[in-house]
C-alpha cells in the first residue's frame, strides 16, 4: 500500500473519506448515541446495505474487470451467512438451555446439554441429533474460519472444473445459476442439517452480549460493515491496479491473445473467482446477523441476478460504480417492496409498487444497458470530462465479456 498506489487511484482516497464521513454521521444520529434520528432498524438497513456494497465490489471485480458474468456469487454470500449463523444459533441456544437447566436439582452433564441444544435447534425439522456439520458450531473461531474456507473451497472446485474445460460466456453464467439453484434445493431439504426451509433464525442475538441493547449492537455491526467495505475497497482496487489488473482486463477483452502472451488464463480466472467468492462470503457473514434470519430462499438464482443488475446500473468496470449501484438500487428496492412507496391511483388501475417494482427495475436495467452502459458511475466522467476513444461502437475485444466502447473509461 504505497503512496503511489493512492496517487494512482485517487478514487480510493475519496471513497474512504466519504465512507468515514457517512459512518460518523450515521453514528452521531443513531439511537445508540442518544439522538435517535436514525432508528435502530434503519441503522440495520444501512449496515446491511454496506454488506451488499461489498459483495457488489466482488461482483465488479469478476464481471467488470475479468469479464466473467458469474450469476452465483450470492450463493457464496449466503454460505458465509450460514457458517456464522451456525455459531450464533448454537451458542445462543446453549446459553438459554444452560440457563433453564441451572434451576434443576442435578447439574446437567455435557452430554445432556448437547442433546438439549440439539433438540431445541432441530425440533422444527423433527430431529434431535446434532448433524455432523455442526461439529464445530460451538467454536466461534472455527466457524469464522469456515466462513472463508467453505465458500473458498467450493469456488475453487467449481471454478477449476468450469474454467479447465474452457466454459465461457453465457454457458458459464448458466452453470453458476445451476450451482446456486442446486445449493438452494439441497438446503431446502429438512435433512440437509441446516433446518431446511426454516433456515437459521435469531441471529441478531449475539451470544455473550445478552445485556447489550439492539441499538448498540446495530451500530457495532454498522461499524464492522463499514470497516469491511473500506478494507474490501482497498483490496479490490489494489488487485485491479497494476499488472494483475492489466491481465484480467486483457482476459475480459481477448483471452486467446492473453494465452499467447504466456499467461495461464484459467489460473487467473480461478484466482479471481475464488477471491471474489471469499469476499462475498465475508460480506454475507456480516449481513445475516443484522438481518436476523437466513433461509435457503437467500440462495435463489434471482438473488445473484439482482447483484449483476446492481453492478450494471452502477457501472461495471469501476469500483465506486458498483458500490453506488448496490446502495442505490437495494435501498430503493427495500423502499418500494416494503410497502412504504405510495400507490399511484390511475382511476382505472392502482399501481401497487410491491408488484410493479420488479418491472421498473427490469426496465431500468434494459435502459441502462442500451443507453448508458457506463451506468451511474458514468456521471462522474461528465464531471471530469473524460473522453473515450471513438471506435464506432465496436466492442474492445472479441470475447463475450469485452467492454463495449461506451463503457470504456480512462
Amino acid at each position: 500500500m504505497s503512496r503511489t498506489f493512492l496517487a494512482k487511484n485517487p478514487s480510493v482516497l475519496w471513497f474512504l473519506l466519504i465512507l468515514s464521513a457517512f459512518t460518523l454521521g450515521v453514528t452521531l444520529l443513531s439511537d445508540a448515541f442518544g439522538l435517535d434520528i436514525v432508528s435502530t432498524s434503519f441503522v440495520k438497513t444501512l449496515g446491511k446495505t454496506l454488506c451488499l456494497c461489498l459483495v457488489a465490489l466482488a461482483m465488479d471485480l469478476i464481471w467488470g474487470y475479468a469479464g466473467i458474468l458469474s450469476l452465483g456469487h450470492m450463493a457464496f454470500f449466503a454460505i458465509g451467512g450460514y457458517m456464522i449463523g451456525m455459531w450464533l444459533m448454537y451458542a445462543r441456544t446453549a446459553e438459554i438451555v444452560a440457563g433453564a437447566m441451572a434451576s434443576e436439582a442435578l447439574p446437567a452433564t455435557a452430554e445432556e446439554l448437547r442433546n438439549a441444544i440439539a433438540s431445541q435447534i432441530f425440533g422444527v425439522v423433527g430431529g434431535s441429533d446434532l448433524p455432523l456439520i455442526w461439529s464445530f458450531a460451538h467454536s466461534f473461531w472455527v466457524q469464522l474460519l469456515l466462513v472463508v474456507l467453505v465458500p473458498g473451497l467450493l469456488a475453487l472446485i467449481f471454478g477449476w472444473l468450469a474454467f479447465r474445460s474452457r466454459v465461457t460466456g453465457v454457458y458459464l453464467s448458466i452453470l453458476t445459476q445451476a450451482m446456486t439453484l442446486a445449493l438452494a434445493l439441497y438446503l431446502f431439504q429438512n435433512d440437509s442439517g441446516l433446518r431446511g426451509n426454516n433456515g437459521l433464525s435469531g441471529l441478531q442475538n449475539i451470544p455473550g452480549l445478552a445485556d447489550v441493547s439492539q441499538a448498540d449492537l446495530s451500530i457495532w455491526f454498522f461499524w464492522a460493515s463499514a470497516l469491511a467495505l473500506g478494507l474490501g475497497y482497498v483490496l479490490v482496487a489494489w488487485v485491479a491496479s497494476g499488472k494483475f489488473g492489466s491481465v484480467i482486463r486483457a482476459i475480459r477483452d481477448d483471452e486467446q491473445r492473453v494465452r499467447f502472451l504466456g499467461y495461464s488464463v484459467e489460473g487467473y480466472k480461478l484466482f479471481v473467482f475464488t477471491l471474489t467468492a471469499i469476499i462475498a462470503a465475508i460480506a454475507g457473514a456480516l449481513y445475516y446477523p443484522q438481518a436476523g434470519i437466513i433461509n435457503p430462499a437467500e440462495l435463489a438464482p434471482i438473488a445473484s441476478i439482482y447483484l449483476a443488475v446492481w453492478v450494471a446500473i452502477g457501472g461495471r468496470g469501476r469500483l465506486y460504480g458498483a458500490v453506488i449501484g448496490a446502495a442505490f438500487v437495494s435501498l430503493l428496492s427495500s423502499w418500494f417492496t416494503g410497502g412504504r412507496a405510495p400507490s399511484v391511483n390511475l382511476g382505472f388501475y392502482t399501481i401497487n409498487w410491491v408488484d410493479w417494482w420488479l418491472i421498473l427495475l427490469g426496465l431500468a436495467f434494459v435502459m441502462v444497458t442500451l443507453f448508458a452502459p457506463k451506468g451511474m458511475g458514468g456521471l462522474f466522467d461528465l464531471l471530469t470530462k473524460i473522453a473515450s476513444p471513438d471506435r464506432k461502437g465496436a466492442p474492445l475485444g472479441p470475447d463475450d465479456g469485452a467492454l463495449m466502447e461506451k463503457e470504456a473509461q480512462k
Binding site: K243, R257, R259, Y263, S264, Y268, P389, A408
Partner: protein, 246 residues
C-alpha cells in the same frame, strides 16, 4: 545445425476437410523463413498447431535442443517456452495504454501470485521505453491502444512480441495495412531479428518476400509444394500453376 522447431508428418482435419496434410517443416535457431501460399493454403492453421491452439490429428512437433514434443503443452506454456506469435489482424488490448500493453508482454514470471505483487522497477520502465522507441511509439506510450492507427497497432503488437523475448517468432501477414515506409521498416526489423532467433513470416505479397531475401516455403492445400530461394520456387512449374493457373 540442429533445428529449433521440427514439424513432421502433421495432418489436421476440420469436419472432414483436410486443412493440413502430412506437412513437414523445420527451422534453425537463427533463421529467417518466409511461408507463402494462396488463401486457404493452411498458413494460419500451421501457426495454430505450433502455438498449441489447434491439436493435429497426427504427426510430431518437436522443440528445442532436447526435442521436446509441443503437443502436450497448452498455448500459455508454449508461449512461455519461447514461441511468440503475431496475428493476422492486429490484436492489442485497446482499453489499455500502450505502456500497459508492453508491460504485460515484458518477459517476467507469469503466475497470478507473482504478477499480483509485481510492480514496475526503473529497469522495466527503461525497457518499455526502449521497445517503444524501437517500434516508433515513444510519443504514444500514455495513449490508449484503441486510439492508435492500424499501422501503429501492428507496430505495438510487434513491440509486445519483442518484449516477450521469444526464441521463435511466428508473424502472420505483418505488412497488411502498412504504408510503404512502414513495410520497409518491418523488413529491416525482421531481418535484424532473425540474426539472433528463428523468425517465420507468412506473407502473400511477393514483393515483400523478395525484400526479406530468405529461404521460402510454398504451402498449398495443407502441404509443402516447394522450398528454396524465391527465384528457385517461382520457377517451379507446380508453384506457377497454383499461383497463376485456374
Amino acid at each position: 545445425m540442429s533445428a529449433l522447431l521440427e514439424v513432421s508428418g502433421v495432418s489436421v482435419t476440420f469436419d472432414g476437410f483436410r486443412a493440413i496434410n502430412n506437412l513437414s517443416f523445420s527451422i534453425g535457431a537463427a533463421e529467417l523463413r518466409a511461408i507463402i501460399g494462396p488463401n486457404g493454403a493452411g498458413k494460419t492453421t500451421f501457426m495454430d498447431i505450433v502455438t498449441g491452439k489447434t491439436r493435429p490429428d497426427k504427426g510430431r512437433v518437436l522443440w528445442g535442443e532436447r526435442s521436446q514434443s509441443l503437443l502436450s503443452f497448452n498455448e500459455a506454456q508454449i508461449a512461455r517456452m519461447g514461441v511468440g506469435r503475431k496475428f493476422q489482424r492486429p490484436t492489442v488490448f485497446e482499453d489499455q495504454s500502450v505502456s500497459d500493453n508492453l508491460m504485460m508482454a515484458l518477459k517476467a514470471r507469469r503466475g497470478p501470485f507473482s504478477v499480483l505483487w509485481w510492480r514496475p522497477a526503473q529497469e522495466h520502465r527503461d525497457k518499455v521505453a526502449a521497445l517503444a522507441a524501437e517500434v516508433g511509439l515513444s510519443e504514444q506510450l500514455a495513449r490508449k491502444a484503441g486510439e492508435l492507427s492500424h499501422g501503429q497497432k501492428q507496430w505495438l503488437e510487434i513491440g509486445m512480441l519483442l518484449a516477450q523475448e521469444p526464441r521463435l517468432l511466428l508473424v502472420d501477414e505483418p505488412a497488411a495495412g502498412m504504408t510503404l515506409a512502414e513495410r520497409e521498416h518491418t523488413t529491416k526489423l525482421l531481418v535484424e531479428l532473425a540474426k539472433t532467433r528463428a523468425v517465420v513470416v507468412v506473407e502473400h505479397d511477393m514483393e515483400f518476400v523478395r525484400r526479406l531475401n530468405c529461404k521460402v516455403t510454398v504451402l498449398h492445400e495443407g502441404s509443402v509444394l516447394a522450398e528454396g530461394s524465391l527465384d528457385h520456387v517461382t520457377k517451379n512449374p507446380d508453384v506457377i500453376e497454383v499461383y497463376l493457373g485456374r
